[in-house]
């Protein structure tokens, strides 16, 4: 296919590498170095998509991130991405793009009817139209809006690409590589500062790529090339293109994304698609330049109407003519350079200038080369449905509210310039309150809030000379505060064209009282009439006007529309712009792919996985794992076609009858040393620890200061001033922080050290009536009798080549022991216990059997210690010492905690002895009562009792103390169940606790 709008030579593209792509089913060609936008324009394609609300045909209006219309659905290698901007995608092999927001096609779009119904779609129409009847919302309005609101379609497949994160520190971060950016980077780097220079586009240079200027004795683009190679050769400089700094956060943390892969035809394996940089900078130089503003006139949104500076960029950088018969429409001098550039390539333009005259050098140059200029003219209307084909122009009246004589002239494009808007987003995000500069009609940075310094045209320095001087000076000053090297380089002499001031007139009147739309925000279809309506309806704050009309919202965040919108509101309210103020600039500056923000933390890398040293054995023995915090724990060991319930029953029963072994490595373990350790534990736990003998363990309960139970576990006195504390798996980290808080903040006078040893010890619980015999076989020399190793006893024993800590403690309620060895010996310990236990019928058991065992014994765990229960509720009031003070004790006097009918833990059995009660069920007296049915409490944990072979649950219910024997109902609306139940003791099995002491 020919590229009929490509000039014969010139531009920064690589004409030796032709690349094809497909747009809406049709094949086109472009060159390496093109963006999709420049390649489309080279083929004369302007119509890209349909607008959001009215489905009007829309085309490319700019050449960079400020483009509001060029959103497409992109396909490559069976991957699709919605809402990508054609101006930001570099051309590579294999791209296919499709228009969005149109059906059945961009050329014939059914939704285009909205354009003719536009009086039904005024500002705020969502709020007005879809309010009633209420029941219509789910079934009619919402599906309709969703279908009609056509942005692209997200893929349902996982993102196949990889994304990385990187942290970096530097002395000076320079954002943007236009003249002031390069100048400041050069002068700071030469003064020894560590510099990062970031450029959003695929080429360094910014405006120097399109402006005809000289710096030193070089052309602007040569100066860029030389300066960039010099910076690249310096070891203290990181220089990145395709890298956009999109957010300025607290303490000079800036976040940038780098596009690493999409522009490559043959990327190396494992190339990340994008990399997110967290940059902590000592100083930030913001040289982000400025964006040209559109002019507002009737039907100013037709394809073929674009910014004058962007037209020049397409010509100079890509060798593409966005039009062969353009009109240039301006209220300032900069657009004349576009006319001169087009003239140089043989394209005659007509310039319409709203001003009465201009004597700027660039205007005189344009006149001298014979460009037609019509001063005091405006565009009253345009025509052309899928592409602009003519403009109705006229001389403006004296008061500029109408036209004298209208004529229609043919054209194939209109290049507009309504002055320049400095890109101040980053400064604003830093906290810089902007100030309004009425001479240039711009918001400029005011006082720095953090370490940001704005230079170049982003700071209102619109000439090259000012920008360069600003860049070199600020780069030196800021670097010298850090390096103190004093190496300053001189500012080179520069030459540029002469530009004058702009016309404070940008919104053209509509001729003959017609209701033509004059668009302010192209992406959201916000027209002048919408803003007028919002102000008429009483919206005053610019933030409210924004939300009501959607002005400046969505992906482009009003890059081209904000200032025009503000000026319009200020005109309507007869206020000056600074009184109206501006809306908040929030990060990100442009859309950022979610994958980039997430980085590598996806799938199994979403969070860390903790495995016990015995994990491989579990895997080999068909363990089915469950997440327990970060830990993976065996839930059950599957045999044949067993279900979870069957396996849990088998494993639990084997503990009750023979002996079982459970991996308890994940239990939190804290080593406590120091001469005040016993005193400290005595304050932390509700029960007494001062007189715990050496070699003994004790069960302890700890509270928060508000009186709620925080955690429980056993703590063993290893030596006089040395304790071994265990915590629940879930609370291990919190308990350690809690202990550290009291030791470091509240009682620093205590001589105690705490350290987590969870990962240092591997643990195995050996439980069941035959556990003693098994222990005896493991340690034949040792007295394992009830007298020689009593309940809550502790022994440190030689085991193979290491030392084992053996505790006689029990969570299952059976005679049981817990054995710890250093982690590296964990698997060896496990294997030894399994092989010695064979004769006793040993079986491993998982967390499901563990729960069954503890539930039918009435032992509380995390589902009862849920942060809302006090010791009484859990029947742990016997653990509260009356003789000493402890953390949280004072709260227990609170009235609600001492009421007679407080919640208390009970056992629950279904009357049919068959129906399992879903966890979370409510207990009520009358299942048929009308709503709201008073709730007595909830079922916290359920199991199948292996002792009685029927379901059993624990519940925490109001006045539980006096409820035993009562018949209630367990209701679970979620599972649609109503189960008649009887309340029994929480200790369903062995209520006297004989087994653990046997």
């Amino acid at each position: 296919m020919s590229q009929e709008f490509r000039i014969a030579s010139g531009g920064l593209i690589d004409r030796s590498k032709e690349i094809s792509f497909i747009f809406n089913g049709k094949k086109y060609n472009g060159y390496k170095g093109d963006t999709l936008a420049s390649a489309l324009l080279a083929n004369g394609v302007h119509l890209i998509g349909r607008s959001f609300k009215y489905h009007r045909p829309r085309g490319i209006i700019a050449a960079g991130v400020e483009d509001a219309n060029g959103k497409v659905q992109l396909y490559k290698d069976n991957i699709t991405e919605p809402n990508v901007n054609v101006t930001e995608v570099e051309l590579v092999e294999g791209l296919r793009i499709e228009s969005q927001n149109c059906w059945p096609s961009v050329n014939f779009d059914v939704g285009g009817i909205n354009n003719f119904l536009n009086r039904f779609f005024p500002a705020g129409f969502y709020y007005k139209t879809f309010m009633w009847p209420k029941s219509f919302w789910y079934h009619v309005y919402e599906p309709f809006i969703r279908k009609a609101a056509g942005m692209g379609k997200a893929s349902l497949d996982p993102d196949p690409d990889r994304y990385e994160h990187q942290y970096e520190h530097c002395d000076i971060l320079v954002v943007g590589s236009g003249p002031s950016g390069i100048a400041s980077a050069l002068s700071a780097a030469k003064n020894g500062a560590r510099v990062i220079l970031a450029e959003d586009k695929a080429r360094f240079g910014g405006s120097l790529l399109t402006d005809n200027v000289t710096i030193g004795n070089k052309n602007g683009d040569e100066w860029v090339e030389d300066s960039i190679s010099e910076l690249k050769s310096m070891p203290n400089v990181i220089i990145k293109k395709r890298s956009q700094v999109f957010g300025y956060y607290d303490h000079n943390m800036l976040v940038m994304f780098e596009r690493c892969k999409d522009h490559l035809n043959n990327p190396e394996p494992y190339t990340p698609r994008q990399r997110l940089w967290y940059i902590r900078a000592k100083q930030v130089l913001i040289s982000t330049g400025s964006i040209e503003r559109p002019l507002i006139f009737a039907n100013n949104d037709r394809p073929g109407i674009m910014l004058a500076s962007s037209a020049r960029e397409y010509l100079k950088v890509y060798g593409v003519l966005p039009g062969k018969k353009p009109i240039i429409f301006t209220n300032n001098d900069t657009a004349y350079e576009t006319a001169i550039e087009f003239k140089a390539h043989g394209i005659d333009t007509v310039i319409l200038d709203t001003r009465k005259s201009s004597d700027a050098g660039v205007v005189i140059e344009a006149k001298n080369i014979g460009i037609e200029i019509k001063f005091n003219h405006g565009i009253a209307n345009t025509a052309g449905y899928k592409k602009v084909k003519s403009a109705t122009i006229g001389e403006l009246t004296e008061s500029k509210d109408g036209y004298k004589n209208l004529t229609t002239i043919p054209c194939d494009s209109i290049f507009v310039s309504g002055n320049w808007t400095p890109t101040v987003h980053l400064a604003s995000q830093s906290g810089n309150k902007l100030k309004y500069e009425s001479e240039t009609d711009t918001f400029l940075p005011d006082q720095s809030r953090q370490k940001e310094t704005v230079i170049g045209s982003a700071n209102g320095s619109f000439t090259l000379k000012e920008s360069l001087a600003d860049g070199f000076n600020k780069g030196y000053q800021l670097s010298d505060e850090i390096t103190k090297n004093g190496r300053e380089i001189s500012v080179p002499i520069s030459d540029e064209k002469d530009f004058g001031s702009h016309d404070k007139f940008w919104c053209m009147p509509v001729a003959d009282n017609k209701h033509y739309k004059r668009f302010v925000d192209f992406q959201n279809d916000v027209a002048v009439s919408d803003i007028q309506l919002a102000v008429r309806e009483g919206f005053r704050s610019i933030e409210h006007v924004k939300r009501y009309t959607t002005l400046g919202m969505a992906t482009d965040q009003g890059k081209t529309s904000n200032l025009n919108g503000l000026q319009l509101v200020s005109d309507l309210e007869k206020k000056i712009v600074p009184e109206v103020g501006h809306t908040t600039f929030r990060p990100p500056y442009t859309s950022v792919t979610i994958g980039t923000i997430i980085g590598r933390e996806v799938g199994k890398n979403y969070r860390a996985t903790r495995k016990s040293p015995i994990h491989e054995w579990h895997e080999k023995n068909n363990a089915v794992f469950v997440d327990a915090g970060l830990w993976l724990r065996p839930r059950y060991y599957k045999r044949g076609n067993e279900t979870l319930q069957e396996a849990a029953k088998r494993e639990a029963l084997n503990v009750r009858q023979n002996v079982g072994i459970c991996d308890v490595t994940s239990l939190g373990k804290i080593d406590i040393k120091g001469k005040d350790s016993a005193e400290f534990l005595n304050r932390v736990y509700t029960n007494a620890f001062l007189k715990l003998p050496v070699g003994k363990a004790r069960y302890g309960v700890m509270l928060r200061e508000d009186g709620m139970v925080f955690d429980d576990g056993t703590t063993t006195r290893i030596a006089e001033n040395h304790f071994h504390m265990t915590t629940t798996t879930a609370q291990a980290a919190n308990v350690l922080s809690h202990l550290e808080y009291y030791l470091q903040v509240v009682w620093p006078e205590l001589d105690v050290n705490v350290v987590s040893t969870t990962e240092q010890w591997a643990g195995a619980a050996i439980a069941g009536p035959k556990s003693r015999e098994l222990l005896q076989r493991l340690f034949p020399e040792e007295d394992m009798s009830n007298e020689g190793f009593p309940f809550m006893g502790f022994k440190e024993l030689k085991f193979k080549n290491t030392v084992a800590r053996v505790f006689r403690i029990s969570f299952s309620g059976e005679l049981a022991f817990e054995m710890n060895v250093m982690s590296d010996y964990g698997e060896e310990m496990w294997n030894e216990i399994i092989s010695q236990g064979e004769d006793f019928g040993i079986q491993p058991y998982g967390t499901e059997a563990l729960s069954t065992l503890r539930i039918e014994m009435g032992h509380v765990a995390g589902s009862e210690i849920d942060g809302r229960t006090i010791a009484y509720d859990l029947s742990l009031e016997g653990m509260l010492s009356q003789k000493k003070d402890f953390i949280g004790k004072r709260s227990l006097n609170r009235k609600a905690f001492t009421e007679n009918n407080r919640e208390k833990i009970v056992g629950v059995v279904p009357i049919d002895k068959k129906t399992s009660i879903p966890e979370g069920s409510y207990l009520v007296e009358n299942a048929k009562a009308s709503f709201p049915n008073p709730k007595l409490g909830h079922v916290s944990a359920s199991c199948w009792s292996v002792e009685y072979d029927n379901p059993f649950s624990l519940a925490i219910i109001k006045d539980g103390k006096n409820k035993k024997g009562e018949k209630l109902f367990a209701v679970s609306p979620l599972k649609n169940k109503i189960i008649p139940v009887e309340i029994v003791s929480q200790h369903y099995v062995d209520p006297e606790g004989k087994r653990v002491r046997s």
Partner: protein, 88 residues
């Protein structure tokens, strides 16, 4: 993301730390009579100042020390950080 100077480790990013609340709250002494009002003030009531706030931070992914930070809650400026035994 804030940058916090741990008195023991130096400047580190906020994601290494856990916030610990008002550093001026003092726990009533053990084994003393405490009125309901005083206890409630200790457990529940906190000031929420706009401006400078002396607060606790815990270097949870670092040296695991608790320390004090004088931070402006409106601007996030950190004026000073110090060990527990020190005062601003």
């Amino acid at each position: 993301m804030l940058e916090i100077k741990c008195p023991y480790c130096g400047n580190r990013s906020q994601n290494e730390f856990a916030y610990g609340g008002d550093a001026t709250v003092k726990r009533p002494e053990l084994n003393t009579e405490v009125s309901d009002q005083d206890w409630d003030n200790f457990v529940y009531y906190r000031k929420n100042p706009r401006g400078n706030h002396l607060e606790l931070w815990h270097h949870i992914s670092g040296c695991r020390q608790w320390f004090k930070v004088l931070r402006n809650t409106a601007t996030h400026d950190i004026i000073q950080t110090m060990e527990m035994k020190e005062n601003p």
